[in-house]
Symmetry: C2
Subunit: 321 residues, 2 copies
């Protein structure tokens, strides 16, 4: 049996602060048309795909901050994307900053949605693993204030879509094995991920050269170890003076990369992905029912970080007698 | 600061059924001497390193089965290994089949130990993720009866050793992200892993070509995502008609492979591993205290396998409203 979904990477080059929503949406529409010409059923756009990556700035004015957020989806500015999806019969994944109203209070999320081939939102996700920091750290060449501007989500769900089970994650989520496993346990067959990843990581600059490698490694392992497709899409290139990695790619349930972008600008690449290819892994090596051992995994939820002894060393626990 | 441990891969070629313990131990001793000449503080041997990989056979006679197991460690046959460790001032990691006595009953484990530079056992581990099957499946070219012959362990511990925090895992454990994370949460700085991995996987033969790739991918991701060294060592080559992968390697906390065996026989390779190299990852990208979100990981312990709907499809759960 085969269940093919033709998935396009909709990689974006930089978005500068002065670029309007309309300009960005017209770039997204151009990518969608290109993907459609290649036979895509679905195009995946990056994290925070409607604006520049504003967490690089420490901003105090609330209205300035809110200017990067969407109060509704679709909005007048984003409606053309939904209209085009309906016209072409093509779905999309889109990341954006969401300003939600909860019990009369404004709450900010780093959000993504799946839109089906009828142009309807059928799944929404709010980023669980917010990286960076919450306070202004002027020693950094640029800030990474996601912990300041966003409230974290608390759940990895899955969505029936495109004839299979789809999951979503955003950027830093992809480095955490728990992300893929939580969705793997719900039978996920394709995980869609958008990211903005500066080449330079201020607290660990000695590893900047490895940024592309570690990006791909995390997605390959997540795919293989859960028998799922993984689609990772970058906002890449030099944005407001900060260089971000590209490396958008589609990873098969075998862990193999089957499609990849090669520029750091707006670029489409595509793969014909058979969702039934997941089963060979899910039924054998990663048959969770047969082989997982939750009784040995307690620490993963009982403990957030390392337990350290008074002298700063980790507390070792010997195993069998 | 630096805390260097010189770690040797002690890869083994095949062990045939007729090879005696004495013959095998003398091969292990030869590898240990070779590693010592290269300045090693520690040599890592494979899983079930004292005998042929007997789970490939369906054996009914209890005494035949027990002939592959160790009733004591060290024993007369393995004492030379401990003596040589003491003489050379070198530690080792060794996998073997353990016949334990628990409340007057014999219990069989797939076990490994860490021995320090004084020749003393300082840590013991019993394999948690037993792969394969429990019943005779004559349709297979060869059996993989680990679920029949072994009782699983239930715990990933760590052991203070060689100036750092060491962890152990065995073979199939290395494919499960939970293995590394459970030890990562205890501050592990080096995970030692032995394996026997047939090239041919009967239930999924279409992926036999990817066996080496997936072996390395799993260990690289486990290392990077926990900021730990990972040392994986094979029993490789053609053993009793079954070909097993080599690919023994040492992976840095960056995910990079820094040493690797290139044959499928007895072979030593070495790396000078700085345990302090872990900290840059443990304190930044993988600072668990700052960035993990156990509140979103509940499924990992609440659920063993996928929950399926009556029609066999996975149950999708939508996320945010």
């Amino acid at each position: 049996m085969s269940r093919f979904v033709n998935v396009a990477l909709g990689q974006l080059g930089p978005i500068q602060r002065t670029d309007s929503r309309q300009q960005v949406v017209s770039r997204l529409c151009a990518l969608m048309r290109e993907a459609h010409a290649l036979g895509a059923h679905l195009i995946v756009f990056p994290e925070l795909a409607l604006t520049t990556f504003f967490p690089r700035w420490y901003i105090e004015d609330e209205e300035d901050i809110n200017s990067f957020f969407e109060r509704e989806m679709p909005s007048a500015a984003t409606q053309p994307l939904f209209d085009l999806a309906r016209e072409l019969g093509m779905g999309f994944y889109l990341g954006y900053a969401e300003l939600a109203q909860e019990q009369g209070k404004a709450v900010r999320y780093n959000t993504s949605i799946i839109v089906n081939r009828q142009g309807e939102i059928i799944g929404k996700y709010r980023k669980v693993h917010l990286p960076g920091h919450a306070e202004h750290e002027p020693w950094r060449r640029f800030q990474h204030l996601e912990k300041r501007y966003f409230t974290p989500g608390n759940h990895f769900g899955v969505t029936p879509a495109f004839g299979g089970i789809f999951g979503m994650a955003i950027c830093n989520d992809r480095r955490w094995a728990e992300t893929y496993r939580a969705m793997g346990l719900q039978g996920v067959e394709m995980v869609l991920i958008g990211y903005n990843t500066p080449v330079h990581n201020a607290p660990a600059p000695q590893h900047d050269d490895l940024s592309l490698f570690q990006n791909q490694l995390s997605m390959q392992a997540g795919a293989y170890q859960n028998g799922t497709w993984v689609v990772g899409v970058a906002k890449a290139g030099l944005e407001e003076g900060v260089d971000s990695i590209g490396g958008s790619c589609i990873v098969a349930p075998s862990g193999e990369v089957v499609a990849r972008c090669i520029t750091k600008g707006d670029e489409v690449a595509i793969a014909r992905c058979d969702l039934d290819f997941c089963a060979i892994y899910k039924r054998t090596t990663f048959n969770f029912d047969l082989h997982r051992r939750p009784e040995a995994y307690g620490l993963l939820v009982e403990r957030k970080g390392e337990t350290l002894a008074a002298d700063g060393t980790a507390v070792g626990v010997l195993n069998a007698p």
